[in-house]
Symmetry: C2
Subunit: 449 residues, 2 copies
């Protein structure tokens, strides 16, 4: 941090300092007496003393109302809730995005999120047939198919295995999907809010598969949820035996209903929909199962503008599992404009499904010049990483962008690169560099350049 | 993990497997027809076929009720809540511990917590005059006293500074205080539940002090909260300039009201009460302020049994800030008994205010033999660390203990060592090795040996 003052403008408030400065450990008993004395003194004086002059010099300290009375009793909420002043910090739907609210999306308010943990109440939600209300005592996980010992596990059985806790992001591949053809939604919550990052606790899937004994011909898993959509995906055995978890815990407590309570799969770094929620069944198979959600949906229809790739037109990528390196500036953003000129810390989030973030570059001029951002705090595998950069805003227009690079060397692409390779018929896997335009007023809008 | 099977007993349930194994993406239309066919077949047969035999062999898949109907619409709760089946996972008070519920404690249910993040709804709560309902737009932080530029900061001012996010535990020094004279409360939630661990986001205090310009004679801070208790402590300048934060974020969202919304101090690794909540004022002083809560309270009255320390009898430790290395086994525990013999993973939490946990040892025989536990997941500075050890329970009585060692070499003491040094008149800083007795029934009780 430099020596330059950050909030020099607040010094104009220093006339308040004296009024607030008296120690007030017992203000309830002292204040009324002192106030009374001062009133009498004023009344006795023949000089005209304005009330404000008394206030500044001699009145009791400016004690806020909430300090004058006892607060709410301890444990008023045995399960705590946010302050009423945070009522606007909620997940939101885009009404026109889905035909109804049963198969829809609740977006995380990224502009309001600090650090790398998303609180459970704000973790984004994507359901295909609503959220089932599952009784954990009745819930079962069956592992069968090409295994030596098919098994049915209760939640108690599962929790007896060795568990691990890891902080990973989840991102729906449809995150930023609305933006393929140009800016559609002028709010960070909607351009990028289909990702969250939590500490997940569960059992490595390899332990459960080891228990069942996968036969040599077992190369795939069919994973099925207990929701009314029977949401299901095919998972190749190499991922199942790598870092995939069967998860029951989220940020220290039980999974939330909309995150798969009581049990979900977690395939770190892969399309969110492969982390099957409300997990009830894993069938070991020799081939992919080609379920609806991996054929008609969650495939990437191609219409590349690159003439060398015309042979791909009308074809589609399937099993495009890994969520590629991506980043977004979370301050400033449309929800958090600049209110006056001066020094600020720009900050944002970067992530990649391939591993750790290596670095993030920032441009203030729409991608002409780049400057390396600072990575802040923990830099973990397949996890949100915070970055920041100080800047001094003099009231000019800026086109701010962030560009993430993964430890595998993959660089977040521009929109031009992405469209050249795929056209604009893809729905999923839009990880393009995003641009916020800061207007002279300090307002921020979503643009594409 | 060994090759030994963990849940061999569940294989007895395998007769259920076949009934559950048919893929059921469209069970609503298929199931009724198949059921009807089977009923007709049974009626036509002259052989007596039991209903259960039909069920096992031929009946449609056992589809749970919640999979047969649509779930709750997406974003039914814009701010999400736990499942109704988790209603028992809440903070609790010990009714006899405090004279009333305004100055009291809500304990974290440690037996139900996974990983190292405590969800905000369950973070322990210790208030001295209840929880004030503070309007963040009206809240101010004043920094004054021995400074060149006294300042008053709004929440917006504070958030403009560079911020950091760090995962740290907070522990009330009164954690385990009820146990000094022997086991008083037979529940992990009450023996150790005055600690939590969250990701905190805020501004390093040194940046704010730099803004105000501390004068050379400024060696201490008087930190005051905006609650009706004006809860306050003296903080030496070396801690203020080290890792102390002025925090507005907790696990990604705004601080919860009972954690100091909208602003608190965080003195990592130190007595929880020094992390002043609802922070309104920091006065730079040349000496400690000797407030009520650091003289009559939060001091450690001594009555050592060690004859060599008889000169200390009747004296007290003051400013005993650092929370020493401590640990506790969170499974098994009174709330989580063993239900049958077999293989288990014992696990627990360790932490130290001095830095990182170096290792944790576990005894199954009340401290005679020790075995090093595995540290699981992230091992961070002044942060909860998870440890675990596999064990095979054959139905015998066990006295299980964990013993934490910090990176500074400090070893968690026994009750005998602690009482020899201090007697039993201390209230605070009980970090003794804790013992759970596993009875032959598998029930777990708190004992002291």
């Amino acid at each position: 941090m430099t020596d330059k003052k950050w909030v020099a403008e607040v010094n104009e408030k220093n006339q308040e300092t004296k009024a607030l400065s008296t120690k007030i450990p017992h203000q309830e008993t002292q204040a009324p007496e002192r106030r009374k004395f001062l009133k009498q003194a004023a009344a006795l004086s023949t000089a005209v003393v304005s009330a404000s002059a008394i206030a500044a010099e001699n009145l009791p300290p400016n004690v806020p109302d909430w300090q004058k009375t006892l607060g709410s009793p301890v444990n008023t909420n045995p399960y705590g809730l946010p302050s009423k002043y945070e009522a606007d910090v909620v997940r939101r739907r885009v009404p026109w995005l889905t035909a109804d609210s049963i198969a829809s999306v609740g977006f995380t308010p990224l502009a309001e999120i600090n650090g790398i943990i998303t609180p459970n109440g704000l973790a984004f939600e994507r359901d295909h047939a609503g959220v089932p209300a599952i009784d954990p005592n009745q819930h079962r996980l069956m592992i069968h198919g090409l295994v030596k010992n098919p098994i049915i596990l209760t939640m108690q059985d599962i929790k007896r295995f060795p568990t691990v806790s890891r902080i990973h992001f989840i991102e729906c591949p449809a995150n930023s999907a609305m933006e393929w053809k140009g800016p559609q939604v002028g709010r960070l919550q909607f351009t990028h809010g289909m990702t969250s990052c939590c500490e997940w606790t569960g059992v490595p899937l390899k332990y459960l598969l080891d228990e069942a004994g996968v036969k040599p011909e077992g190369k795939w898993l069919y994973a099925e949820g207990a929701d009314a959509a029977s949401m299901s995906r095919s998972i190749p055995m190499h991922k199942a035996l790598d870092d995939t978890l069967v998860v029951f815990g989220q940020n220290g407590e039980a999974l939330r209903p909309e995150q798969g309570y009581p049990l979900r799969l977690l395939t770190p770094g892969w399309e969110g929909n492969t982390s099957i929620k409300w997990l009830r069944r894993l069938e070991v198979t020799s081939e992919p199962s080609y379920q609806r959600e991996e054929t008609s949906k969650y495939t990437d229809l191609l219409n590349p503008k690159d003439p060398d790739k015309s042979n791909l037109i009308g074809k589609a990528y399937m099993f495009s599992w890994i969520m590629e390196a991506k980043s977004v500036i979370t301050f400033p953003c449309p929800e958090k404009p600049l209110k006056k000129q001066g020094k600020y810390v720009m900050n944002g989030l970067a992530w990649t499904g391939s591993g750790k973030i290596k670095y993030v570059d920032i441009s203030l001029d729409g991608g002409i010049n780049w400057k390396q951002a600072e990575l802040n705090g923990l830099v973990l595998d397949k996890c949100w990483t915070r970055f920041s950069l100080e800047f001094d805003w003099k009231g000019e227009e800026l086109l701010i962008q962030s560009r993430a690079t993964g430890e595998d060397g993959y660089v977040q692409p521009t929109y031009a690169q992405l469209r050249k390779a795929r056209g604009v018929t893809s729905i999923y896997h839009n990880n393009a560099i995003h641009t916020w335009k800061i207007n002279k007023s300090g307002e921020v809008e979503s643009v594409q350049i």
